[in-house]
């Protein structure tokens, strides 16, 4: 019974945020939102972002902020699109994964050697990868023809998302790597004293993020039928929705696994985006709404945490009082 209650609470917490946001838009624009097509569209839009968010979740949990996975993803897709001209879909997959593995390994090695803020180093990577992407692209067309877009369409996109989700869930729940990342994120010092290798764990998290970014790149390029190299810091805009998704997922980790929490986060942001478009909110105000929504969510989360801590404290003092009474 207790387990069933916990399961119900988990499911409730998982759907409460996206459902609440969706419900609001259903009231405002029922004609647009009370359709199966709308739900389908929102979930479809969320697939590639979910995979990217899962990819960076281990890094973020372990305390690494790596903006360069987006630039890496773009470089991979640029190479992938070029290879797809001669090798078909296999070329796209090979290009993306090859770049991910090479960049991931290099970044992991450098991370263990350079003791500097991961965020600062990642910005250097963004510049390098952006410039390389531009050179690789040259004057090549970056558009995928319709027959090359299979991996961004149903059912392939659902299958890839599900498999990535399963891998993420298993690694997070049942692997030492997942536990080590959480330990590092909790306290570096305690984790190291407990025998967790910071360098190795962070390295694995970086490579994992690279590979998942490559998979999300394959999905996004197939979904949008193309890619474009982006120099400077332009590529960073891709990473922010994923970071927001992970952070909402982290807010929900008290109740649900981060794998599902991240889905809730990404889907919520897409519902919000679709809803604000449906409401005809001026473009300038959309960011304000999104920012305000995230602030409310953070405040709510802090409030709930405080309430919960207060409840625990109260229970503890009651128990202590009972124990003291029994002793007297």
């Amino acid at each position: 019974m207790q387990k069933f209650k916990k399961l119900l609470t988990s499911i409730g917490m998982l759907v409460v945020i996206p459902a609440a946001v969706y419900a609001i838009f259903c009231i405002v624009r029922p004609d647009a939102f009370l359709t199966s097509g709308a739900v389908y569209s929102v979930f479809l839009q969320s697939c590639a972002a979910c995979v990217l968010a899962w990819g960076i979740s281990f890094s973020l949990t372990a305390g690494i902020t790596d903006f360069s996975v987006a630039a890496e993803r773009i470089l991979g897709t640029v190479l992938g699109v070029i290879l797809s001209r001669s090798m078909g879909i296999a070329g796209l997959v090979i290009g993306c994964l090859a770049v991910a593995i090479v960049c991931g390994v290099i970044k992991a090695i450098l991370n263990s050697m350079i003791k500097m803020s991961s965020m600062v180093i990642s910005i250097a990577y963004v510049y390098i990868l952006g410039a390389v992407g531009s050179i690789v692209q040259g004057t090549n067309s970056m558009i995928l023809t319709s027959d090359m877009c299979v991996l961004g369409k149903s059912p392939a996109i659902w299958i890839i998302t599900a498999v990535c989700g399963l891998i993420m869930f298993l690694l997070n729940h049942y692997s030492v790597f997942g536990a080590n990342c959480r330990a590092l994120g909790g306290s570096n010092k305690i984790a190291r004293e407990a025998g967790v290798s910071k360098g190795k764990t962070e390295g694995k998290a970086i490579i994992f993020a690279s590979i998942f970014a490559a998979i999300s790149g394959i999905m996004a390029t197939s979904y949008g039928a193309g890619t474009v190299a982006q120099t400077g810091l332009a590529s960073m805009s891709i990473i922010f929705p994923a970071i927001i998704g992970v952070n909402i997922g982290l807010l929900l980790t008290k109740w649900v696994d981060i794998t599902f929490g991240t889905i809730a986060g990404v889907v919520t942001m897409n519902i919000l985006g679709t809803g604000l478009t449906a409401m005809g909110v001026p473009a300038q105000l959309k960011d304000t709404f999104t920012g305000a929504f995230l602030l409310i969510l953070m405040c709510l989360s802090s409030f709930l945490s405080m309430k919960r801590a207060e409840k625990v404290r109260r229970q503890a003092s009651e128990l202590a009082a009972q124990a003291a009474g029994a002793a007297n």
């Binding site: 350079i114 510049y127 004057t139 090549n140 996004a220 949008g224 473009a283 300038q284």
Partner: protein, 406 residues
Amino acid sequence: MKKLLALLLALVMVFSLAACSGGNDAEEPSGNEGEEPSGNEGDGGETPSGETDENGLVSWKLGMMDPGAWNATSGPLYAQMEAACEALNVELYYVVAQENSAEGHIAAIQNMIGADCDGIILLNGPLVQGIVQQVADMCDEAGVYWSLSWTKIEEGDGNYEACMNSEYFVSTTYEDDVHSANWCTNLLGELGCTQLCEIGFAAGNATGDMRDQGVQQGLEEYSMELLAEERDQTLTSTSDGGKTIMDRFITSYPQMDGLVIAGMSQFVLSGVVSSLEENNLQDDIQVTCIDFHEYQTQYLESGVLDGIIGGHVVGTYYSLILMANLMNGTPLTEEKALIEDNFIELASYEDALIWDEYGNTGDIYTAEETLNMMQKVNPDFTYEDLLAVVDAYSLDDIVTRAEARA
């Protein structure tokens, strides 16, 4: 070891940026480095006195922003510039703006000045970032001639005054961006659309503001309604973002029958097309856009795209002609030039084929034509002749000149 690796990383970064620069960046400038300028024909008065080529044209160094990744607009523009620079004995020096901000642009311009560029031609960066006055100050202080492109300045807007008061300002070229957006919107009106959505630049972009004005005029002219707009750069900078935007429009506005892409076409159009095809709406929703796209011919052929306006790839070239004449001591005009150049309008598959064959070649103006615009080579060429060249620029003009050459 760690320090060595950090140094290595920094070096790799530097080399990656250097790789984006022009092919002959590493060479020492053959112009007036270290020499006293001899000419004083322009307002600023200082022109290079370096080595001359077989045409008697003096060597000088031109700074431009690195074009970044190739696209159907920047590609032909820079290809034309590179071809013209080669013909005019000009060394082209590219600098990367590390970030798309005022500071990033200022730093890039300082780098050009630091690299001994004799002249600088910038696109609409200074206008968008609101730093025209700063650019004027920097160039005046360094004695570097400068021009703008894709930049419309008008009396009283502050930018106009900054340019006109700058001793070293040469010219600006611009297109009528109100017209470009108006052309797109009107085309949808002519196709019978009544309910439109728009994808555009983020707020605060001067070019975007002009295009919005053009869209608004079109809406009024054809009594159309703008249902929604999307300007979120996290979406408008990728093709999957383009698809997401279109999916959202389709979900939220089933009555939508037209889309204007007034900016970021190079990123979003393929995603928009993918969404239309997947939803089987290519015949129900008409699409027009600004800025040429690498797949525009295929899209126009399939009918998923109904019109595209762009081809504004020669404004910098006209600026170069003015500056090159000035550098050679034969300025075409003593005035600071404000030149409006033309867009190319592709309203059919046939138009796109013509552009592909004659316009998308990187040498809309050949080396011979370029040299003929230099008074040192062709003393009869005047400023009025240049204005006639600018005014003639159209699909017909490109074809006529190409066929005459053949």
